[in-house]
Subunit: 454 residues, 2 copies
């Protein structure tokens, strides 16, 4: 179908006699001599105004089409006398593809609550806010790929279906081809218990031992029954893994990735970010630019604990060496104490996973969390334990069976190398970029306890 995208028409260098554009009517206003029709086609946030002369064939074509209707307009792209728009279209023909009954179409021109819009997740991409959110999501995803490729990381696809249930990152969903009530695992698709992955890390490590630098970027799952604005049962995670790398390299990578995606969004999503800065989170743009202005802070966990203890703050959860940091602590460190993102490293081994590299002090591991204002933990990672004896001992110490990890231990048995990696929740990054405070609103069709519609 012959048409030009509205984003390209709005960026046109010169007027044009014959253009065709398609889109959905955002608003229509009928004056005596014209109808003014604002069209949006999703290619950008801005609408293109079309002028339809009264009494013409074009106006007959337009008919009763109003907000929500899909149309094609042909006409001339001309300089607009109106304010805030460079071009408009004088219509010579209008064709209606599909109407939207004003009595029943839910997206009339008024402000809707986020809660209501979640109940019509199939229609909310047609609003300014969600159109912008999902365009930013797409650009941020591209920025992630571009960043890693420029540093010669290979995108790898780690499996979603896994036999492992020992990673410890959270509750797992079970997958089966049996009908409910059937319990004979031998007869199930894989002949054994199958779960949805909570992390592709272990497989990414295997790939990094051959390809050198890899990252996975795919969906990840948690069966945790928590109804919070920060948790979803299905979300996308970015997990780089680097051979021949230590904790310093990892902190550099996490910082560089975060900055790179923010830079990309500022450069390529200015119009959409401006919406969030104006209507959702005033000060967003200043905060994003601030994040680029200075290096992230870096502080050992032990020192972070001291800072929190001396803060004079009345935290809901007390903090002492050996306790995990809560979101309130993370936000205090990033927002109030450092006033910028901060990497906290060298955590007590008891509160971290078995695969993290043991430090020489005997009580900490080479783990790092990167905390950012408003979000708390954005990135969590570590240098991995590459020493076979230490890793085997730690697995046994935690009451697990080393033979269940045979292939993971093989990576330490044959050509083991210092290596490191982290996980970054993509939705957290999007909440940072947009100021959206509920994870349900950065995912097109969010999955949370009891919510599986669409």
């Amino acid at each position: 179908m012959q048409r030009t995208l509205i984003v390209d028409l709005l960026n046109a260098a010169a007027p044009a006699d014959n253009v065709a554009l398609c889109g959905w009517i955002r608003t229509r206003r009928d004056a005596k001599e014209f109808s003014f029709v604002e069209l949006n086609d999703g290619s950008c946030r801005a609408n293109l105004q079309c002028i339809v002369d009264a009494g013409t064939a074009a106006q007959a074509g337009l008919g009763e089409a109003a907000t929500g209707a899909a149309v094609r307009v042909r006409g001339a792209l001309v300089a607009s006398p109106g304010k805030g728009q460079r071009w408009e279209v004088r219509a010579t023909a209008v064709e209606v593809f599909g109407l939207a009954d004003p009595e029943t179409f839910p997206l009339q021109k008024k402000r809707h609550s986020d809660e209501f819009l979640r109940t019509i997740a199939h229609l909310r991409p047609r609003t300014n806010k969600y159109g912008a959110a999902f365009r930013i999501r797409a650009e941020a995803g591209y920025a992630v790929h571009e960043f890693f490729r420029s540093r010669r990381f290979a995108w790898v696809h780690t499996p979603v279906l896994t036999g492992a249930d020992c990673e410890g990152a959270g509750e797992m969903f079970r997958v089966t081809a049996l009908e409910p009530g059937q319990t004979d695992l031998q007869r199930d698709f894989f002949g054994r218990r199958c779960n949805l992955t909570v992390s592709g890390q272990l497989e990414a490590e295997a790939l990094a031992m051959g390809l050198g630098r890899v990252y996975s970027f795919g969906p990840t799952f948690r069966a945790e029954n928590s109804n919070t604005p920060r948790h979803a049962a299905e979300f996308w995670m970015i997990e780089p893994e680097m051979a021949f790398a230590d904790l310093d390299d990892l902190m550099d990578l996490g910082e560089d990735l975060t900055r790179s995606v923010v830079e990309h969004a500022l450069a390529h999503c200015a119009e959409d970010l401006a919406l969030f800065d104006s209507f959702v989170d005033k000060g967003l743009l200043a905060r994003l630019k601030g994040l680029l202005a200075a290096p992230f802070a870096r502080v050992p966990y032990a020192e972070a604990v001291e800072i929190l203890q001396k803060s004079g703050k009345d935290f809901a959860y007390p903090v002492a060496f050996g306790t995990d940091l809560q979101t309130e602590h993370e936000r205090y460190l990033a927002e109030e104490h450092f006033g910028k993102p901060v990497a906290v490293y060298n955590y007590p081994k008891e509160i971290k996973a078995f695969y993290m590299r043991q430090n020489d002090d005997g009580r900490t591991v080479a783990a790092v969390d990167i905390l950012v204002p408003r979000i708390g933990e954005l990135i969590g990672g570590s240098q991995r334990e590459e020493r076979l004896d230490r890793l085997t001992a730690r697995i046994a110490e935690l009451g697990q069976r080393p033979e269940d990890y045979w292939w993971y231990l093989d990576l330490r048995r044959f050509g083991s190398v210092p290596h490191a990696g982290f996980g970054l929740g993509f939705e957290r990054l999007l909440m940072l970029l947009t100021g959206i405070s509920n994870i349900r609103d950065v995912i097109p069709f969010p999955r949370t306890p009891g919510n599986l519609e669409f």
Copy 2:
């Protein structure tokens, strides 16, 4: 850790006195005055040869390290007198990170069967062939993103967890947070039956109705108990969806995407493709270049059936108007009759899905499959039925309940537009690019009936 990637050293413009490189020893050969060590770090297929002088500290550092060991070499990058390599490294220091016991390390320098290598999927990325395959996989994935972004398609993440079980694309896995034997769905995570998606199409359509042009690119699942070289239980699918588009636009898109990824691979993966051309599928490069040389053929299904009937071929499955094409028919059309990729369109409605747009002839739908030599069907798609009455009637005709599709029908109720989309199995594309004939060998950790290891 200070180091330079081997790919960058091999592309160096000038010699350098002090370089450090890390990698795994591919081969080691000890002569009287030197040890020759070929190092690979996964950044490219080629090794970099390091010369370690006998009797030096460097040789002492190297010790007994042999094939599979991980080391860091420091030294000078100098012009190589050897054939086929521009640079080599004269080592001044060697540090061993991890040895690989020659008695137990499975990847000694000999050819291994693909079947054997699948049993050590955690180690096979260290071989030339699988390193190349997974680098090509990464580049092809990037090429997909680059292609769509250049045409202003937004990458969207459609849900993996779905309540729909009606899409009809294949058998679905069930997902639950209940323990085996518990059957009370009310008490399950979502309070209803949950499946793993077989296609993100329906959700992508909703997003295209707001964003205009979108594509999903994520994992997809089939619980079909079929042990063939072409089927896996988990694979990645690319599903673009375009508003304001018809079947011709869709055929253009499918052809352009295929050509674009092939072009990208030829430009960016020459060294890795050469391996497959030499050792896996002689003639691969000629075939890929041939694919770019001429436009794809396009033929209506009815005409394709006639061609097959007149072919004089003794097919295992007879063909007549109304039968689905089998791989043998698809390959005959692409390989023998047309000698290039061919788009077959306008299929009988009875053998295609309910959402495909009904043609005016009353017996066909605006569906298209793109068939390629050696693979058969690479792409399957259609213009979607955008007319509410036709779509509702078709759903009822097939014995399903239109109310189960309430939100999908809403897309036709409010601002419906002509639109079209397809699905492309990413692994099929990789088999086309590499000549690898078993899907298990283009996926890092493949999932097939009974296989869930790693």
